[in-house]
């Protein structure tokens, strides 16, 4: 590598990082769908997909091929450019936010951190900003479809996402106050002193904030029990009623990619990111390589636990009514999040 300049090395490694992270995220999306079908199947006392490949493991690939090969219907009355742009906005925003997530302990190769695509000093705000841009995908898809069920679904979804964004953002303020930074790496480092005891949810006493975040995140990603935008019993399929083939698949992938992002943020902010739950109780064995792999292992395990929780909740809880959803967000979660900020900053001020 000696004949390459520093900038060329940086560029090359960055391109490789982006490609690898993108492929892994898309594979995770595909297999989260399989995980969901399998787990819900088990919870409802049936098998789930089991025919394609061993234990149905090839099902996501076959599903992908099916969606690719389906006929791409384009209704006559749609607003064509926006109808095409909407799924791209949805999927693009869902995939971009993975770029700022640090998914392993800091590991430098040629001066470039290989376990984070972009280390940004306002990483948390970047994720919140991208989430708030993602609303356009849903809003535009409903409007440009020229279908009243789609429009109702997208209006519901836009209102829901804007309302819960406030509670979501405010629930993270307590964590930011403790870490004194918006850099995700710094936030993770602030929780890595004593393993599980220094995680924000336990040692940081941010469990109220965590539960607010969890509920707001379910609403943000339009998942059960807050999946009113696509409530099939009343709205056919909500905002993606008119979409077929690959464009439908893009919405589908965006939903699961958003789930993964939200789980990553929960892991980073409340559960110590890539740090081990045992802290220094277990001696570091096996050298630098094993330690790097181990940190990625802890991160993936935590994210997987959150995805499991998502699926568990979906197969357990019934759907909310729309007015219940709104009053829950505005009258319960928002005041609670503000109270959490006041108490946290008061305690920090007394201590410091």
């Amino acid at each position: 590598m000696s004949h390459l300049t520093k900038f060329e090395v940086f560029l090359l490694l960055s391109v490789i990082k982006v490609a690898v992270v993108l492929v892994i995220t898309l594979m995770c999306v595909a297999y989260t769908v399989l995980l969901e079908r399998k787990l819900i199947g088990r919870m409802q006392n049936r098998w789930g997909p089991s025919r394609v490949g061993p234990f149905g493991l090839l099902q996501p690939l076959v599903d992908g091929a099916k969606l690719f090969l389906k006929e791409d219907l384009m209704p006559l009355a749609v607003e064509r450019p926006l109808f095409l742009a909407a799924p791209m906005i949805a999927l693009g925003c869902a995939l971009v936010s993975v770029a700022v997530v640090p998914f392993g302990a800091i590991t430098r190769v040629q001066g470039v951190d290989i376990f984070q695509v972009a280390s940004v000093n306002i990483g948390l705000l970047v994720i919140l900003g991208i989430t708030s841009i993602g609303v356009y995908g849903i809003a535009l898809s409903g409007w440009s479809s020229n279908n009243k069920y789609s429009l109702l679904g997208s209006l519901r979804s836009t209102a829901q996402v804007i309302s819960y964004e406030l509670a979501l953002g405010l629930s993270l303020v307590g964590v930011v106050l403790r870490a004194q930074s918006l850099n995700l790496r710094t936030i993770v480092d602030s929780q890595s002193a004593h393993g599980m005891l220094s995680w924000n949810i336990f040692g940081g006493f941010q469990f109220v904030a965590f539960f607010i975040y969890l509920m707001a995140a379910y609403a943000e990603t339009n998942r059960a029990p807050f999946d009113l935008p696509e409530a099939e019993t009343e709205l056919v399929a909500g905002y993606h009623t008119e979409y077929s083939s690959m464009k439908f698949a893009m919405f589908f992938m965006a939903e699961y990619a958003n789930m993964i992002t939200v789980s990553c943020v929960a892991t980073l902010l409340f559960f110590g990111g890539a740090s081990s739950p045992f802290g220094h109780l277990i001696p570091a064995v096996g050298g630098a390589f094993v330690q790097a792999i181990l940190s990625v292992f802890w991160f993936v395990a935590k994210v997987f636990a959150f995805l499991f929780l998502y699926i568990w909740v979906r197969s357990t809880l019934p759907r909310f009514r729309y007015d219940q959803l709104m009053s829950f967000g505005w009258k319960f979660l928002l005041p609670l999040a503000m109270a959490n900020i006041i108490v946290t900053s008061f305690v920090l001020a007394m201590r410091g």
Binding site: L82, V120, N121, I122, L125, V126, L128, G129, T131, S132, I133, V135, Y136, A139, L140, G142, W143, L151, S154, L155, T158, A159, I162, E165, G169, Q180, S181, L182
Partner: protein
């Protein structure tokens, strides 16, 4: 690389602004405004104001413009039609805009020495954290204007509630 960022996003902002004016359909205009705001956010970031950039994206493109789009969708507004007023706006507006452009560029060119030259993208490389500086400034020296602004927003919220409430 920073100069390239400036050129790309400056051009995008200009293109979005022109498209905003020339589009007939309100939703296309609203979306062009979103493009303008996002490119402005990138320009802020390349000047080292990363908090301002994030606030721009979250507040303007993520909240205010979503409400604009929301209202346009709810009202199902159609294409604009040419009226007497719009023709008058063309005849007065274009020379007016040109005059303001000339005036501003004259001021910037003649007072170039007094204005410090901006270091385009110079603060991207050594990421200095200016959020602490911004908040310290807001809560010490600028505390009164800051609080007065929040009271203004509170009054606006109360006004909206009064207007939206049903008559008993």
């Amino acid at each position: 690389m920073q100069l390239a960022l400036f050129i790309i996003f400056g051009a995008l902002a200009l293109g979005g602004a022109l498209n905003l004016l020339f589009q007939r359909h309100p939703i296309n205009s609203a979306l062009s405004l979103v493009v303008v705001m996002m490119s402005l956010a990138v320009l802020y970031w390349s000047l080292g104001a990363e908090f301002l950039a994030a606030a721009q994206v979250i507040v303007y493109s993520g909240a205010i413009m979503v409400l604009f789009v929301f209202v346009i969708m709810l009202l199902n507004a159609g294409e604009e039609q040419k009226t007497h007023g719009s023709r008058a706006a063309y005849t007065v507006g274009i020379p007016g805009a040109a005059a303001i452009f000339c005036l501003l560029s004259f001021v910037f060119l003649s007072q170039g020495g007094a204005l410090k030259s901006a270091n385009i993208g110079g603060d991207l490389g050594n990421g200095e954290d200016n959020i602490a500086a911004v908040s310290a400034m807001l809560f010490t020296k600028q505390l009164l204007p800051f609080e007065v602004t929040s009271i203004l927003i509170l009054v606006a919220i109360l006004g909206a509630v009064v207007l939206a409430r049903k008559e008993q």
